[in-house]
Structures are given as structure tokens and as C-alpha cells.
Amino acid sequence: MKSTVFFKNMPAIIATSTICGPKEGQGNLGEYIETRLQDDTFGEKTYEKAERKMLSHVINKSVQNANLRLCDVDCLISGDLLNQIISSSFSAREFDIPYLGVYNACSTMSEALAISAVLVDGGYMSTTVSATGSHFSTAERQYRYPLELGSVRPPQAQWTVTGAGSAVISSKSGFYPRITSATIGKVTDFGVTDVNNMGAAMAPAAFRSIYNHLKDTNRKPSYYDLILTGDLGALGSRLLKHLAKEKGVDIDNNHVDCGEMIYNIDEEEYQGGSGAGCSAVVFNSYIYTKMRQKKFNKVLFVATGALLSTVSSQQGETIPAIAHAISIENGVV
């Protein structure tokens, strides 16, 4: 049974936009991020409003970057981490665009890209926008503790990225990074219960999607310049490579992880970044820029998500995870 969709018309990612908080701006990829905030409240009264505003900002900007007007967009597909995805829905309130709200935790970016690709490839729509974002201070309050609580962050923990990214997918012809296939992930749970160890919970899901993708497409890992996982962090990446080795797949040479890349390693986020904004920011800034410059030509984008809630973890449930693998290749149509 195949879980990969092949796109004959190869929808193009014609423009992107990203925004990030001050901490991410000072990170490794800061210079590639379009808007770097000095103040992560973005002039708003609450962090929730700030997250919303970041999302609206990148959606607007990405449409501008594509030299389009908002009325040219046929559909907006976005999601975020907050309960009932309020950031996405409330930011969509500002736009006169049909809206699909999606949620797959931190893998929302690749899910939104896959849905966009299906809609555009099938000829149902000509231009769609996929966006997602997260904010450290809203995620921390919802998933963990109040910001000012003097709690200890264990060494396997990751740091939720403050940032958002948006991509415009279009049926336009020309030379662009194009979505050629998408492997829809399966929910995978290896029994990890530690909510501070998301990397360990998500690594099996990431590997399953990568494995299924390579099998369905008959490709070797070396086909890709980059296999880009979402937010496994340093520990999760090690686990992914371990799982891959066990199954005889060698991804050591071209695997990188957004969570590992986004911050400078000397900072104290331990395992790196996480959150829906993590893969959205890294993919839509650095990776997209490098693809336009033809530094990378074939990228497998595997954003990963942990599908837990505070209720499920309080009730002692294990953490299910998912990953969608999107194959993006430079090409002319």
C-alpha cells in the first residue's frame, strides 16, 4: 500500500515569507529570515495576539513577494499549536480568502504544503497559501509551565521557536522549486511518555515517512541533496540515524534537522528548536533561498509533529507522532 502522492503538474513554490523573534534572529539562520522582531510581543498586549499578528504578517508578505494581490489567492491553509488553532483562524479572519484550518502539531507546515500541492496539481485552484507559526510564550503556557515559574528545564528539552513562515503555491510556469511528491505520514507511537523528550517521540514517525517515501519512489537517500526533518533536535536526530541504520538506510550524509540548525549551539536550548514555527521558518527562509540559488536542488522536507495534549499526557498516555515527507525539486514546467 503506497502512501505517496505524485504530482504530475508539479506545483511551484513561487514565494515565501518568514518572521522570527529576537532569539531566532540571533541564531544561525537569522540573516535569511525576512522580518526579525526586536520585541516578541510585536507591539501587542498578549503573546497570543503577537502570534496571530506574526502569522498575518507572513501571509501578507508572501503574497506581496509573489507579486500577487490577496484577491488572487484561492485558498489559505494554515495551522498552529494553540488550542482550537486560534492563531490561524483569527488571522484568517482578516483576509477575504477561503480558509482551511489544519493541525498536525509541528508538522503542520508539511501538511499544509501537501494539501496545497494537491489542490493546485489537480487544477482545482491556481494559487494557494500555506502558513504556520508558533510562539515560545504561548506554547510554554499551554504545554508546560507559567513563564515565571522557577522550574528546571531538563537537558533533553527543546525550545519552542517564536516565528512563522508562509509559502505561496502556484500552477505558474517557470523555474521554481516544485513539489513533486508527498508521502502522507502515518501516526506512529513507540511508547515514549516523557513530554520533555519530543525528539525521541517523533524520530520513529520521521523515519517511517522517510522509509515509505524512499520505497514508494524507488529512490536512494543520496537522490536528495538534503533530507530535512522538522524539529527532532540533536537527540532526535541521533535516534533517527540509529533507526535508519537498523533498517539499512544511510542518511548520515544528507540529513539535517531544522531544530538543530536554528539556534547557535552555545545557547542553552539543549537539543535545539521545536514548534510549528521551527520548520516553517527554516524551510521558508534558508532552504527556500538556497533552492532559488540552486545550492540545493532536491530536498525532502519531513516536518515532524508530536500529537499530544496536556490532557493526554496528564492521563499517562504515550506520545503519538506524525511526519509528512514532501519532495521539493527545482525544475521548469
Binding site: 510581543t41 515560545f136 510564550s137 513563564l147 515559574l149 522550574s151
Partner: protein
């Protein structure tokens, strides 16, 4: 004067020791801060109910009363004293003894939360 200095030293050592036990629990069992507080509180109540914590308080002063187990000591001690005056005293004694701490937490908590805003963290 040496008595005062010795008292400081004992407070430091005993207080630090209690906190170190908490840190050992955190390191080995991954229990969260809220649970740690409850466990230490219950330990304080239990130790005082068998009359042990009093010795620690007499020995180390603030070193034994400042940790949350000292709060448990206060609750148990109040209830035990109250029990001497009958069932009603047993019922209310604990909270009466602990009333200063609880009131302070609510009053200062409310005021501080009114004034200050939670700040985003850089690390």
C-alpha cells in the same frame, strides 16, 4: 556572638541539605516542582506528627522552617496544639498556625500579578 554565627551555619547547612534531597529526587525521578512541594510538605507534617521535626527546628531554626517542610511542620504543630482544646481545635488549628503564610501568598501574589507582566525568556 558565636551562638549567632553557629545558628547561621546550622541554618545554612540544614536548609541546603533539605534542598539537596529535593534535587536528588528531581535528578532521579523527573518529578515536577509542584509534586516536590507536596511531598516535602507531607514529609514535614508526618515528621512533626511523630514529634521529630521539632528537634530539627530547635537545632537549625530557619534552616528547618523556611523549606516547605517547615510549612508542614507548622500545620501539624497547630493541629496538635488545637487538639488539646477539643475536636474543633483539631480541625482549625493547622490553618490558624499557617494563616500568615497563606494570607501573605494570596495578598502579595495578587498584588504582584496586578503590577507585573510575564516576560518572554531568552534562554
Amino acid at each position: 556572638m558565636t551562638d549567632v554565627l553557629l545558628m547561621f551555619l546550622k541554618a545554612f547547612l540544614v536548609g541546603g541539605g533539605i534542598c539537596t534531597v529535593a534535587q536528588i529526587l528531581i535528578n532521579y525521578t523527573k518529578i515536577t516542582s509542584g509534586k516536590i512541594l507536596v511531598y516535602f510538605l507531607l514529609a514535614g507534617i508526618f515528621l512533626q506528627s511523630i514529634g521529630v521535626y521539632q528537634y530539627l527546628v530547635d537545632f537549625a531554626g530557619a534552616g528547618a522552617t523556611v523549606p516547605i517542610s517547615g510549612f508542614g511542620y507548622l500545620l501539624a504543630e497547630g493541629a496538635i496544639k488545637g487538639a488539646e482544646n477539643g475536636l474543633f481545635g483539631a480541625f482549625t488549628g493547622g490553618l490558624i498556625a499557617a494563616s500568615a503564610g497563606v494570607t501573605a501568598a494570596i495578598v502579595f501574589g495578587y498584588l504582584n500579578a496586578l503590577i507585573f507582566k510575564a516576560k518572554s525568556k531568552k534562554n
